[in-house]
Amino acid sequence: MNAIDIHVHHRWTDLAERPDYQIERTRFLALQSGIDKVLLLTMGGGTSPEELRERNDCTLRLMEEAPDFFLGAMYLSAAHDAADIRAEAARCVEAGMVGIKQGLEVNARNEGVDPIAEAAAEHGIPIVFHAWYKTVEVFEHESNASDIADLARRHPDTRIIMAHLTGVNRRGVQDIEDLPNVWVDTSGGWYDSEMVEYAVRHLGAERVVYGSDYPGRDYAPQIGRVLGAGLGEEDREKILWRNAAGLLGLDSDAS
């Protein structure tokens, strides 16, 4: 089985303090569940441009250590100047990063995200954007799927991977159904039956990608929801790696 996990967090934020055990586990456990490559995501909310560069450098260091396994997504901050955003995006793409991560601290409707979306389009890389429809515990600036849809309409040339299928649930799938520049990843809470099939019925398997949200979540049950869903093998293959390979600019025959 081939699989690319498009939603894996790492917690290395200070170059001087590499969390060796956690990083070793990030790779070992993925391979244990048949995952060949992971897209590493870092967090950058509340950071200065210098601090953010260091966090992205930690990701780059991991990519250098295991170039066949670790893919990297940069973090860009909507709180930073547009010029800083453009410069950091160009630097990280030049160094080999293939995506951008956006988290909880800025809503997708915020115009501060626009320079990030423009950088994504300019470099031809996707944004993995946190989203959720919650009935409780909603964070102040947290995006829901309608916010992601708004961003996608403002930037039709930007490709967005909306995180957390089960989190955004059926309403979220419908929010993006008519937006061909938005994909959804399969992560988000537990493994509710019928959810993957619902996304495939509404979006097509071409717009669903496997993601785990490791290490808050566990690779094995998260990939289990894709392996256990009622899908044809061709659709399953698209979700597990073929779609991700296309989004991240990998050679899809080589995965």
């Binding site: 969390p19 055990y21 956690q22 586990r25 070992f28 456990l29 244990q32 569940s33 959720w132 429809y133 919650k134 009935t135 409780v136 515990e137 089960t166 989190g167 649930n169 809470g189 537990w190 493994y191 509710d192 039956s193 019928e194 490791y214 290490p215 808050g216 979540r217 566990d218 690779y219 094995a220 049950p221 998260q222 990939i223 289990g224 929801r225 392996l227 256990g228 869903a229 009622g230």
Partner: protein, 271 residues
């Protein structure tokens, strides 16, 4: 594999695959599960869960695949009669409580009486602390998780009773059983010297337990012989929880205990 957490029937809040006894048997067998302890799903919301028991337990009890289990509400005046019928008619070895859906505390009148009766009869008492993710519940039916510490207290009050906590979930749910400073160490260290203070008469079912490498994390907190495999089907894809255990780096003997023998010893069966 012996799955201890299967709901039979109709879940009211969203579609699931067909979950009558025959459909569940086919679905779970296809995942390699050879025996399952099931309860009536309708019991969550019906005003008298005994009506759900009456609906589902006959077909579960007839099956070679299922171990039937009943849901009771010990705050109802008729709980003892329902208990006797479920024991006498269908031989249930496990009675489940859904206190957060039936709106009572484990200190409520009736709970200790039921616990004492179950202990005397050798019946296992299960407490479901959650059925679904509280963040995506239907907004007209927000049901917070039930505190696991209250289940621990029940187990301590009844040392001769065997108690199972079903649905213990995310480790950042604040609780005394797995305090935050202990949880923080899970991902940083290969081993932990200090485990959770689990009563000797209590088991943890793992369908909602998820953290990094879930079984490995659970083993840092709890003894292997107190862990039980459950799928929470039909609400979850069974494959998710099968792989949670099978793909773990835990020794094969530990995996076999969690997947099968712990449940056999607790509930009997022919898995």
């Amino acid at each position: 594999m012996f799955d201890v957490n299967v709901g039979c029937g109709v879940w009211p809040f969203r579609p699931t695959p067909p979950a009558d006894a025959a459909s569940l048997t086919a679905w779970l067998r296809a995942e390699g599960i050879t025996r399952a302890c099931a309860y009536p799903l309708e019991a969550y919301l019906w005003p008298d869960p005994q009506e759900a028991n009456e609906l589902r337990l006959p077909e579960l009890a007839e099956s070679d695949f299922f171990v039937p289990s009943a849901v009771l509400n010990p705050t109802l005046p008729g709980w003892a009669k329902a208990y006797r019928r479920c024991r006498g008619e269908w031989g249930v070895p496990l009675v489940r409580l859904l206190p957060n859906y039936h709106l009572y505390e484990l200190a409520a009148p009736g709970v200790d009486e039921l616990a004492g009766q179950a202990a005397a009869d050798g019946v296992v008492l299960g407490v479901h602390v959650r059925a679904e993710d509280k963040r995506m519940q239907n907004p007209i039916a927000k049901v917070p998780p039930f505190p696991i510490d209250d289940v621990v207290a029940l187990a301590r009050r009844h040392p001769d009773l065997r108690v199972v906590a079903f649905g213990f979930g995310r480790l950042w749910d604040r609780c005394e059983l797995a305090p935050p400073e202990l949880v923080k160490e899970l991902q940083r260290r290969p081993e932990l010297e200090r485990k959770a203070d689990l009563p000797r008469n209590m088991w943890i079912e793992l369908s909602f337990f998820e953290h990094e490498s879930s079984l490995a994390s659970a083993l840092k907190l709890f003894p292997a012989e107190r862990l039980l495999f459950g799928t929470n089907a039909p609400l979850f894809y069974p494959r998710a929880n099968v792989l949670k255990i099978k793909n773990s780096e835990a020794p094969e003997g530990v995996k076999d205990a969690v997947l099968r023998t712990n449940a056999e010893e607790l509930l009997g069966g022919r898995a």
